[in-house]
């Protein structure tokens, strides 16, 4: 992007004053280098979001922002229902409640490396990943409804997880306000065999070493110890969420004129929060959130089963589970007044600061864990929410490295075998059913995740806690 189109607020904050129908300004948080690297489409998309009815304060983009569909990936926007605010299926995306969870193992790097290949093979064998994979849990109509209402709580009641996990999942593992009746038969059918599956693309299960600690106090509170290993899972609501996104996007595109909404981009399809369609979408989306929470809980359970084969320990307590494609009802201070807002985060992570009432008691003094997935080679980060993120971006931070190269360009640049071998030489074992899929996710196809999290920290969106280096990567 051309930074001359922005007003520079600081080294990591850039503002676009309202123009041509924008109701609020747009603000991008990134260093000048990251700004320059961003596609011009980010400018178009972050300003288009600012044109939606009922948007409050500003349309934001995080340091990992890149060209998405409708919203930029890395986009954050909040809407007030009392001011005609909208809910946007495009602002949540197809992979509703896609997110990341990290389990602690309290195993040293040496312990994991001693069985690295066998562990990688067992995880790949036990956790369904990739196109055409199926989970072992078949849901009938009644079971599907219970899952859509209960989320991770449902999974735990079925024996796929532990009750104490709920303390470490947003909303204790269950989004309220879900209505299975708002979920179509097609969406249900698409999910029947997909519970406990990882998916494909950039979704993964990784065993990672805590390679660096930046904040000793918060790391200790999170249970992170340098030299120990964690298991991180990145996936979402699978076919059910994809189908809900597809169906409601279409309905919102067709209905927008009836609500007097002029869409600057059809992918920003939305409906007034107070409309029948808006409420129906929210009910379906919350059911999809529960599907994603249940799915990650089951995969965490599968990972525990595999680790139990190798290590005689209870193991793998959940550190945290957080989604990055959602619309959530939150209370935020706007001009000194606390208002209830519908906060869309599309490829952006909620990042509540210390003291927030939404955090579990054990984490409240330290801020919410913010889990940032990097590429297979570059590693990942654990950040902590900070109080300054609330006024900056409704308590939000980045979610990953962000692509710098299209999938097509990646496959022209690297071969899957080459990527696997190169990572092997670095001590990272990659397991995937598709070498082309591996090439598309090559580390070089992603931006420098360190630059992204440094930007987020400098912008006051979150604080760096730990760096995680992969040892095993199971990709779909």
């Amino acid at each position: 992007m051309d930074v001359s189109r922005f007003e520079k607020l600081s080294e990591t904050a850039w503002r676009i004053a309202p123009f041509e129908g924008m109701r609020v300004p747009a603000i991008v948080y990134a260093t000048e280098d990251l700004m320059t690297e961003m596609d011009d489409k980010v400018f178009d998309q972050v300003t288009n979001v600012a044109k939606l009815p009922g948007i409050v304060r500003a349309s934001y983009a995080m340091p990992d922002a890149h060209w998405g569909y409708g919203f930029p990936i890395g986009g954050v926007a909040a809407f007030d229902a009392d001011e005609g605010g909208v809910v946007s299926a495009g602002g949540v995306g197809f992979d509703v409640s896609c997110g990341v969870r990290t389990h602690l193992t309290h195993l040293t790097r040496e312990q994991v490396v001693s069985v690295q290949q066998e562990l990688a093979d067992a995880l790949f064998e036990h956790v369904p990943a990739g196109v055409g994979s199926e989970g072992e849990i078949a849901l009938d109509a009644q079971g599907m409804n219970a899952m859509l209402l209960g989320g991770a709580q449902w999974a735990i009641e079925r024996g796929f997880g532990r009750p104490e996990d709920l303390d470490r999942i947003e909303e204790r593992g269950c989004a309220s306000g879900a209505d299975p009746a708002a979920v179509s038969e097609h969406a249900r059918k698409r999910q029947r065999r997909e519970m406990g599956t990882l998916g494909s693309g950039n979704h993964y299960l990784e065993v990672q070493e805590v390679a660096e600690i930046f904040d000793d106090e918060i790391a200790a509170a999170y249970g992170l110890v340098k030299g120990e290993c964690v298991v991180t899972i990145h996936c979402g609501s699978r076919g059910l969420g994809h189908q809900i996104g597809t169906e409601y996007l279409r309905e919102m595109v067709l209905s927008a004129p009836n609500y007097g909404i002029e869409l600057p981009d059809r992918e920003l399809a939305c409906a007034p929060i107070k409309s029948e369609l808006g409420q129906k979408y929210l009910s379906a989306m919350r059911a999809a959130i529960n599907c994603a929470l249940a799915n990650r809980e089951i995969i965490g359970h599968l990972a525990r089963q595999v680790f139990a084969r190798f290590f005689a320990q209870e193991g793998l307590p959940l550190m945290f589970d957080v989604s990055h494609n959602t619309c959530k009802v939150e209370r935020h201070a706007i001009d000194g007044e606390t208002r209830q807002l519908f906060v869309h985060r599309k490829g952006a992570t909620r990042a509540f600061g210390p003291g927030h009432e939404g955090l579990p008691e054990a984490l409240r003094p330290y801020g919410q864990p913010v889990l940032i997935g990097g590429s297979m080679g570059a590693g990942s980060y654990v950040l902590a929410g900070v109080k300054t993120s609330e006024p900056q971006a409704f308590s939000s931070a980045c979610h990953g490295a962000g692509r710098r190269m299209s999938r097509h360009a990646a496959t022209r640049t690297w071969g899957g075998r080459q990527v696997v071998d190169d990572l092997r030489a670095q001590g990272i074992i990659v397991k995937s059913p598709s070498l082309r899929g591996v090439a598309e996710e090559a580390p070089g196809a992603y931006k420098d995740v360190r630059a992204v999290v440094d930007s987020a920290e400098a912008a006051g969106l979150a604080r760096k806690v730990a760096f995680l280096k992969p040892l095993i990567c199971v990709k779909g």
């Binding site: 569909y69 196109v131 055409g132 994809h242 992918e267």
Partner: protein, 147 residues
């Protein structure tokens, strides 16, 4: 019918770049042919369509208020059937009249060993959506698919 490897001047498909996802574009002498080619481009995002045996058929009947929305509906219908039936497709027949589409997809059950599918397509989006006649006898159907 669009056949694999058909890259003649008019009837062909291609991918176009998108930061996170993949753009699919089909060209044809008719709207139906352009839709067939866009479907092949979608399949090629997942696997090599030449590896797909044409053993089973799935029929489609769709309608939409606008031609470009019909393209999104067509691709999303294919995506749904692939997911629900655990199938992949390698060839397509499409006829479009008055914003109504009748289509047939030919394919087989997905084989992870033989097809080595790279990605799962989540949905067809309205991003970069176009279904237009660029010049007489050359239709272009395109959008970004989320993977």
């Amino acid at each position: 019918m669009a056949v694999l490897g058909d890259h003649s001047a008019t009837v062909r498909w291609e991918h176009f770049p998108h930061d996170a996802d993949i753009g699919v574009r089909g060209y044809g002498a008719t709207p139906g042919e352009a839709c067939e080619q866009a479907a092949l481009a979608t399949m090629a995002a997942i696997l090599d369509p030449a590896t797909v045996r044409l053993e089973q058929t799935v029929d489609f009947a769709l309608e939409a208020p606008r031609l470009d929305l019909l393209l999104v509906d067509w691709l999303n219908a294919l995506i749904y059937e692939m997911a629900e039936r655990r199938m992949v497709f390698g060839a397509f027949h499409v006829k479009i009249e008055n914003d109504r589409l009748k289509g047939r997809a030919l394919g087989e059950a997905v084989s992870r060993a033989r097809h080595a599918p790279a990605v799962e397509v989540k949905g067809a989006t309205y991003t970069e959506l176009a279904f237009v006649e660029d010049r007489p006898g050359l239709w272009r159907a395109q959008c970004v698919i989320d993977v």
